[in-house]
C-alpha cells in the first residue's frame, strides 16, 4: 500500500499543478477585487463588463477568424494528405518536409515573414486567417496524413476494381477510414486558432481584435477580472468543441 501511495501522490500533485491555473482563471472572473490570499467576495461584475459591444465584437471576431481558418486548414489538410498518401512524384519527400517546416519555426518569425511577403493583405482579416493557416495546417496535416497513410492500398485498389471512381473511393473509403485523424485535426485546428496569440499579436488590426488579444491587453493594463472571464470563455469553447467532435466520432464509429 505504501509503495502505491507515492506514485498516487505524485500524480495527484502534478494534476493539481495543471488544473490550478485553469481554476484560478475562472476565480479571477468571479472575484471583483482580489486583495487577499483567499477571496472573500464573489460577483459577476467582470462578466457584465464583457457584455460591452467592443468585447462582444471580440468574441464574434474570434469565431469568424478561427472558423474560417479551420475550414481552410481542414480542407487543405485532407487534400494534402491525400496527395502525399496516394501519389508519387519527384521531390515528394522534400515538399512534405518543407510544408511541415513552419511547425518548427517560432510563430513570431512566421508572422514577420507573412507581413513582408503579403503586403496587400496587411491589416486585413485574410492576413490573420493566413497566419493561422501557415502555422496550424502543417500540424493538422501531420495528424490526417498519419491516419490516411495507414489505409491499406489493397482497399483502394479493390474499390477501383469494383468500378468505383477516384472521387467515390475518396468519399466512401478513404474519408471514413481516416475519420479519427480528421477529427483530431479538427479539434487541434479549432483549439489552436481560437487561442492563437503570438501570431495574432503581429497580424491583428483594430477591427479584428480577438479574445486572446483582449486577454493580453487586459492583462497588460491589470484588468485581470476581464482577462479571467475571457479565458473562461475560451476554456468553455474548447471543451464544447472537443466534446462535439468526440460525440460525432463516436456516433459514426461502427467498426
Amino acid at each position: 500500500m505504501r509503495k502505491r501511495a507515492l506514485p498516487i501522490f505524485v500524480v495527484l500533485f502534478l494534476s493539481l499543478l495543471i488544473l490550478l491555473p485553469l481554476s484560478i482563471t475562472f476565480l479571477l472572473s468571479v472575484v471583483p477585487a482580489w486583495s487577499q490570499a483567499i477571496p472573500n467576495e464573489f460577483g459577476l461584475i467582470w462578466w457584465k463588463e464583457i457584455l460591452r459591444p467592443a468585447y462582444i465584437k471580440a468574441i464574434f471576431n474570434t469565431f469568424i477568424v478561427a472558423g474560417l481558418s479551420s475550414i481552410f486548414i481542414i480542407i487543405y489538410g485532407i487534400m494534402g494528405s491525400y496527395l502525399f498518401s496516394y501519389y508519387d512524384f519527384i521531390g515528394k519527400d522534400l515538399l512534405f518536409s518543407m510544408i511541415l517546416s513552419p511547425t518548427y519555426v517560432s510563430c513570431t518569425v512566421v508572422s514577420l515573414g507573412l507581413i513582408v511577403a503579403y503586403v496587400p493583405l496587411r491589416n486585413t482579416l485574410w492576413m490573420m486567417i493566413l497566419g493561422n493557416f501557415v502555422v496550424v495546417s502543417p500540424l493538422v496535416m501531420k495528424y490526417v496524413y498519419s491516419s490516411m497513410a495507414q489505409i491499406s492500398k489493397d482497399l483502394i485498389e479493390t474499390s477501383y476494381s469494383l468500378g468505383s471512381s477516384k472521387l467515390n473511393t475518396f468519399m466512401k473509403i478513404i474519408l471514413p477510414l481516416s475519420r479519427h485523424g480528421i477529427l483530431a485535426g479538427i479539434i487541434l485546428s479549432i483549439g489552436m486558432c481560437i487561442s492563437a496569440l503570438s501570431i495574432m499579436l503581429m497580424l491583428y488590426n483594430a477591427n479584428w481584435i480577438t479574445i486572446p488579444i483582449c486577454i493580453y491587453l487586459e492583462n497588460t493594463t491589470g484588468t485581470l477580472g476581464i482577462a479571467g472571464a475571457f479565458s473562461t470563455i475560451l476554456i468553455i469553447i474548447t471543451l464544447i468543441t472537443v466534446y462535439l467532435v468526440d460525440y460525432m466520432g463516436e456516433k459514426h464509429a461502427r467498426f
Binding site: 491499406s152 489493397d154 482497399l155 485498389e157 479493390t158 474499390s159 477501383y160 476494381s161 469494383l162 468500378g163 468505383s164 471512381s165 477516384k166 467515390n168 466512401k172 473509403i173 471514413p176 477510414l177 461502427r254 467498426f255
Partner: protein, 256 residues
C-alpha cells in the same frame, strides 16, 4: 493474333520500379474461361503482373488485351477486372451486405438485393449480412471477398495468394470451392501463388515465372511429369521431395 477465345493476353509487357527491372517482355495468354496460375518464388514479378492486368499500375512497355480489346490505357475502375487479395481487403467500416453491394451500387445496377442473396447463397454466407469484417472468421472473410468480386461479373478474376492466410484444412476446402465456383461462373481466372502443390491441384494451366520472365507454360500434368526446362523440374520437384519426406516421416513414426 487477335483470338476471340483468348480471355487475357499480354504482349511484351515490361515494368520497372526505379532501376529495379521487374518484368521483361512478358508474353502469355489465358484462354477464355480458363483457370491459369502464375507460379514462382517470392519477388519473381507475379503480383506486379497481376496489378498490371488489374490496371492499378501501368506498364512501361507492352500491351494488355481482354479478349480482343486493348485495355492497356483503360483505368482500373473501367477495366472490369476483379481481385481478391491475400488479406481479402474487405472494407472494415462496412457490413458484409454493404461490402458485397459496393460494386453493384457504384455501377447503378438493378435488382441488387436479389443478386446479393444469390451470390451469398452460392458461397454459403447467408446470415452474415449485418456483420462487420472484424466479426468474421478467415474463411468467411475469404467467401465474402469472393462474393463481392464475383457479383459484378468481372471479365477476369485475379486471385493474389488468397489462401495463404487460412489454415491447412480450410485451405483444402476453399481450394475446391474456388475451383468449383470458377467452373460454374466460367470466369477467366489468373491465380497467383508460390505454392507448387496448390498450383498443381487447382489450375487448368500453370505459367512458371522466374525473375520477371515466363519460363514455361503447360498443364499441371505436363509440367510435373514432362517438364521442358530444368528450372521447372527443380521448382516442381520440391513437391515430390515433400511427399518423400512425408512418406519417410510416416515410416519412422510407425516404427516408434
Amino acid at each position: 493474333m487477335q483470338d476471340s477465345k483468348v480471355g487475357v493476353r499480354t504482349e511484351n509487357l515490361s515494368k520497372s520500379f526505379g532501376s529495379n527491372k521487374i518484368l521483361t517482355n512478358l508474353n502469355f495468354k489465358i484462354r477464355d474461361g480458363e483457370f491459369m496460375t502464375l507460379l514462382g518464388p517470392s519477388g519473381c514479378g507475379k503480383t506486379t503482373t497481376l496489378r498490371l492486368i488489374l490496371g492499378s499500375i501501368s506498364p512501361d512497355e507492352g500491351k494488355i488485351y481482354f479478349g480482343n480489346e486493348d485495355v492497356t490505357d483503360i483505368p482500373c475502375h473501367r477495366r472490369n477486372a476483379g481481385i481478391v487479395y491475400q488479406n481479402y481487403a474487405l472494407f472494415p467500416h462496412m457490413t458484409v451486405h454493404r461490402n458485397i453491394a459496393f460494386g453493384l451500387e457504384v455501377r447503378n445496377e438493378e435488382d441488387i438485393e436479389m443478386k446479393i442473396r444469390n451470390i451469398m447463397e452460392k458461397l454459403n454466407i447467408l446470415g452474415l449480412e449485418g456483420r462487420y469484417p472484424s466479426q468474421l472468421s478467415g474463411g468467411q472473410q475469404q467467401r465474402v471477398a469472393l462474393a463481392r468480386t464475383l457479383i459484378v461479373e468481372p471479365k477476369v478474376l485475379l486471385l493474389d495468394e488468397p489462401l495463404s492466410n487460412v489454415d491447412a484444412k480450410l485451405r483444402y476446402e476453399l481450394r475446391s470451392e474456388i475451383k468449383k465456383l470458377q467452373k460454374s461462373t466460367g470466369v477467366t481466372t489468373l491465380y497467383v501463388t508460390h505454392d507448387q502443390e496448390e498450383a498443381l491441384i487447382i489450375s487448368d494451366r500453370i505459367a512458371i515465372m522466374e525473375s520477371g520472365e515466363i519460363i514455361e507454360v503447360g498443364s499441371p500434368g505436363d509440367l510435373y511429369f514432362n517438364p521442358q526446362k530444368e528450372y521447372t523440374r527443380d521448382f516442381l520437384g520440391i513437391v515430390e521431395k515433400r511427399l518423400e519426406n512425408l512418406e519417410n516421416f510416416r515410416k519412422n513414426a510407425s516404427r516408434i
